[in-house]
Structure formats: structure tokens, C-alpha cells
């Protein structure tokens, strides 16, 4: 693989926008990314679009990439949709990285888009592909992570108030991010006192229903020079893993551990080198588990990272500086690219009040879906200031 750089990023604010369309959301993100890169529609040679629920909710299982690109004035080029649960956007980013890194294309566009606020079962937790039989017995994604949370509490003795600190921290970060869905600070009492969803996870311990889109332009060094692009961020590595189906302790996700190891190895860095990270904090417990599976701290010691402030802005390794899925929002297919948007912003030194001083290396992590009681897909990207 040759070197690949992120040359432009763009996203819509995340929130509930039931009166807009996936086309309008996608167009807005693409146009913002093109403008940020300083290139035109005709410079884009290939595009991949991540989306997870447009089939079920918008009767559009295929063609979201073509729709959004057409809407933004991009035609004729190869375009493909990428569905990979919550990691759909990350996987679209990875496909684009492979397309440019392979040498086949010089300028690629990764898009992620989702509009969940229109779903008919509003207010109910999302269902999950891959758990149909379990679903007939009552399974929901919050149930899985509630099982993980109780197991984690049982093993470590940590109580729900510690888990809730993740939601408070990420909301504090989101208050500094203009793209975030929820920006008003919340207290520990509010998180713990919000309605129970799946014990011990309350409503404010779970990510919200979100709409939004994000896009990134990836280029080769040759294209960057030819098009005179600046503010480049280098993609050091990209990894994707699927479940091992071994029935490990439910409080850890082995595929995340494997995806992280692969990404560190390819990037030739270790977790101690990471300055800023966006992880898949779909539920408060997830962020703590991810600290451990991604190697940010020893196993079963993740709670201490949030308690000590290590993972807060100003701490040793700020995590979810955007506000994370919990507060920036989680429009499934858009999330992985929104994570890259935040990390690129940080590595360029353009994050304003939420800037991590001197950030040189950043990591994004998305995990999604279930197959037979294991998680299905995990993607990790490591980026570096160029």
C-alpha cells in the first residue's frame, strides 16, 4: 500500500431532522468535504457510501452513494454502497483507503449517511440484523451492553455511578463541538435518574436517535502535489475484524482487541503513542471496555481512566472529544466518518476550545452488529499529522 492522506472533511450537524432527506444530508457533507479539500467534483475518481438502515427505513437498500453523489454533482465514476452495521462508515472509509492506497485511484470520496428519526418504531431501541432468533426472545442492542455492564460491575466492583461519568464527560466535550446533537452539560444525577432502558443503563447512558452525514476526501501524495492540497493528515493504518464466536467474557470484545493490534502493527505505533481517540461509545459501559480492548489501559482498569480524568480533555489521552456517540450523536453509517472528521480536526490543530494540545496521532474505532451473541464488525483507523 502506498501512502494515503485525508485532504478534506465535511459533515452536517448531527441531530433529529425528520423533515430533511438522506439525499440532502449526503449532499451537504460531500460539498463541505470538497470545499474543505479545495477540489472540484470532477477531481473525485471513486466513492464509497456507508449506510446501515436506509433499506428498512427509506426503501433504499442500494444506491445511496449514487444518490448523494448525483445530488452533489458527481457523475460517471465507480460508486458502491457499504453496509457493515455501525461500522458502515468506517468500512466505507477503509474501502476508499484501499482504493487509493492500491494505486488504482488518486482521489477518493468516503461518505456516511443515515436518517433514523423517521423510523416507525420511534422511542424503541433499534433492532439488530443477525439476532433474529434472539430478537424473538426479546433481544435488543442495549440488552447486550447491559449484560456487558453487569458482568463488568460483577468482576470489578465498579458501580453504575462510575459508568455514568462517561456520559457526563462526553456531554462536556460535546458542549464545545458545534456539530454535536446534545450540547447542554448534564450531571451524574441526571444520567442516573433518567428513565431505565436496560438495567444498569439509563436513557442518558445510551446514544440517541440521530440523523446526519459525514464525508472525507482521501488522496495519494501524487494527487496532493498535483492539486496543491494542504492541511493533509496521513492515514497510518486501517483494520477490520469480525467475530471469533468463542463465547468469551461478555465484558470484552475480542474482535476490537484484534482490530486494534492489527492497526497498531500496520501503523508501527502503540497505544501509548495515541494522543486523541474517538471510540464507539454507543453506551457508557462501551467506552470503558474499549479503553481496555484498545490497549489504552490494562484490562479491568478502564473505569479509573474516566474517574481520574485521563480520558477527559486535558487528560493523558482525551477520548470522544467530539462528544462521542453519546452526545455528538450516532447516525449509524455516518458515525465512522464523523469520528475521522473529529480526529482530522484535532490533528490539524483546528479544534478550537476542545483542541488537544500537540496532538500528533489519533485513533478511531467503530464496532457494530451481532452474529450469534458475538459482535460482528470492528474497524480501527490510525491517523497522523502530516
Amino acid at each position: 500500500m502506498r501512502e494515503v492522506f485525508v485532504a478534506g472533511i465535511g459533515m452536517t450537524p448531527f441531530g433529529r431532522f425528520p423533515d430533511t432527506t438522506i439525499e440532502a444530508l449526503g449532499r451537504q457533507a460531500i460539498l463541505a468535504a470538497l470545499e474543505d479539500a479545495g477540489i472540484g467534483q470532477n477531481d473525485v475518481e471513486v466513492a464509497y457510501a456507508g449506510h446501515a438502515r436506509t433499506g428498512r427505513l427509506h426503501k433504499r437498500e442500494n444506491g445511496v452513494g449514487q444518490l448523494c453523489c448525483w445530488s452533489a454533482g458527481i457523475r460517471e465514476i465507480p460508486i458502491a454502497g457499504v453496509g457493515n452495521f455501525c461500522a458502515s462508515g468506517s468500512t466505507a472509509l477503509r474501502e476508499t483507503w484501499m482504493a487509493v492506497g492500491s494505486g488504482l485511484y488518486d482521489v477518493g470520496l468516503a461518505i456516511g449517511v443515515e436518517q433514523l428519526s423517521k423510523r416507525p418504531e420511534g422511542g424503541q431501541p433499534l433492532t439488530s440484523d443477525g439476532m433474529e432468533l434472539e430478537g424473538e426472545l426479546g433481544f435488543t442492542p442495549p440488552a447486550f451492553f447491559a449484560l456487558a455492564a453487569r458482568r463488568y460491575m460483577h468482576t470489578t466492583g465498579v458501580d453504575p455511578a462510575v459508568l455514568a461519568q462517561v456520559a457526563v464527560k462526553n456531554r462536556r466535550h460535546a458542549s464545545l463541538n458545534p456539530y454535536a446533537q446534545y450540547r447542554s452539560p448534564i450531571t451524574l444525577g441526571e444520567v442516573l435518574g433518567s428513565p431505565m432502558v436496560a438495567d444498569p443503563l439509563t436513557r442518558l447512558s445510551c446514544c440517541p436517535t440521530s440523523d446526519g452525514a459525514a464525508a472525507a476526501i482521501l488522496v495519494s501524495r501524487e494527487a496532493a502535489e498535483r492539486l496543491e492540497l494542504d492541511r493533509l493528515v496521513r492515514v497510518l493504518s486501517s483494520s477490520l475484524a469480525s467475530g471469533g464466536y468463542r463465547g468469551d467474557d461478555i465484558a470484552h470484545l475480542d474482535l476490537d482487541h484484534r482490530a486494534a493490534l492489527a492497526a497498531y502493527e500496520m501503523a508501527d505505533v502503540g497505544p501509548e503513542d495515541v494522543d486523541v481517540a474517538e471510540v464507539h461509545d454507543a453506551f457508557t459501559i462501551c467506552e470503558i471496555i474499549h479503553y481496555e480492548d484498545l490497549g489504552f489501559c490494562p484490562m479491568w482498569e478502564g473505569a479509573a481512566m474516566v474517574q481520574s480524568g485521563d480520558s477527559s480533555l486535558g487528560g493523558r489521552l482525551p477520548v470522544s472529544t467530539s462528544g462521542g456517540l453519546l452526545s455528538r450523536g450516532h447516525p449509524l453509517g455516518a458515525t465512522g466518518i464523523a469520528q475521522a472528521h473529529e480526529v482530522v480536526t484535532q490533528l490539524r490543530g483546528e479544534a478550537g476550545e476542545r483542541q488537544v494540545e500537540g496532538a500528533r496521532i489519533g485513533l478511531t474505532h467503530c464496532v457494530g452488529g451481532f452474529v450469534t451473541s458475538d459482535a460482528a464488525a470492528s474497524a480501527v483507523h490510525i491517523l497522523a499529522a502530516a
Partner: protein, 130 residues
């Protein structure tokens, strides 16, 4: 339970995944003669060694790995639902409802008849004193 009523595995699995055995439920899984891996539901190819599986009836006995209480259960379920993660004595992990309030993690459980979505015939786990 009548044989005419709807089952949770209707249209989802090639073969039934459970059958009643008096007051208990047996889970219909498979095993790998080559590496000894046991699976539930039944499968054709071993995910550990890629060898062929053969059907095996599982006792439905296991240990509770974790549990939760769904305050807002999905469509087709009434009221609060307690949901568990059980490791069967034969090995496979099963996610299914649990009958008991506040069960202890690690406690012995047994699959028994229980209701799925819209009251379909299914199974749940019950704590056993043992």
C-alpha cells in the same frame, strides 16, 4: 403448549431449535466429532475447525454469565423483561429471558418453556438450587 401455536423459530431456522421435555426444555444443537466444539443452534460447519457437525441434544442446563432487566422491551412483549446470557454446560452461549428477579451471576440455570414475541412458544431460563 399446543403444537399448533406459533414458535419463536418459525421461519428463522432450518430445523427446530428447542423441544419440550416435561417441565424442561432441551436445546437442539450440534457437535463437531473432530474437535469437540458444541454449537447452538445446530450448524453444518464447525466455526472452530471447519469440520462437519452432527446434531446433538443439549440439556438446557447452564450457568448465568450475566443478566439485565429491559424496562422498555421490544414490540410484542408486555411489561418488563429480564434477559440473560447463559453458558450451557456443553459450552455454547445462549441469550434468552430469565424467570427470576435479581439472580446471582454464576448461578445454575435450566431452560424451561417460556413465551417469545406475541406469546410464541419459546424458552427461558430458571434458577436451579444446586
Amino acid at each position: 403448549m399446543s403444537s399448533e401455536s406459533k414458535r419463536i423459530d418459525d421461519g428463522l431456522e432450518a430445523a427446530p431449535v428447542f423441544e419440550a421435555a416435561g417441565p424442561e426444555v432441551r436445546l437442539l444443537g450440534s457437535e463437531c466429532p473432530r474437535c469437540g466444539a458444541v454449537a447452538f443452534p445446530r450448524r453444518e460447519v464447525c466455526v472452530r475447525c471447519a469440520g462437519p457437525h452432527r446434531p446433538r441434544e443439549l440439556s438446557g442446563a447452564g450457568r448465568l454469565h450475566s443478566w439485565t432487566r429491559l424496562a422498555n422491551p421490544p414490540h410484542g412483549f408486555d411489561g418488563e423483561l429480564r434477559y440473560g446470557c447463559v453458558d450451557l454446560v456443553e459450552g455454547p452461549r445462549v441469550l434468552a429471558p430469565v424467570a427470576d428477579a435479581e439472580p446471582a451471576i454464576g448461578v445454575a440455570v435450566q431452560a424451561v418453556p417460556g413465551a417469545g414475541r406475541h406469546g410464541a412458544d419459546g424458552f427461558r431460563f430458571e434458577v436451579r438450587d444446586a
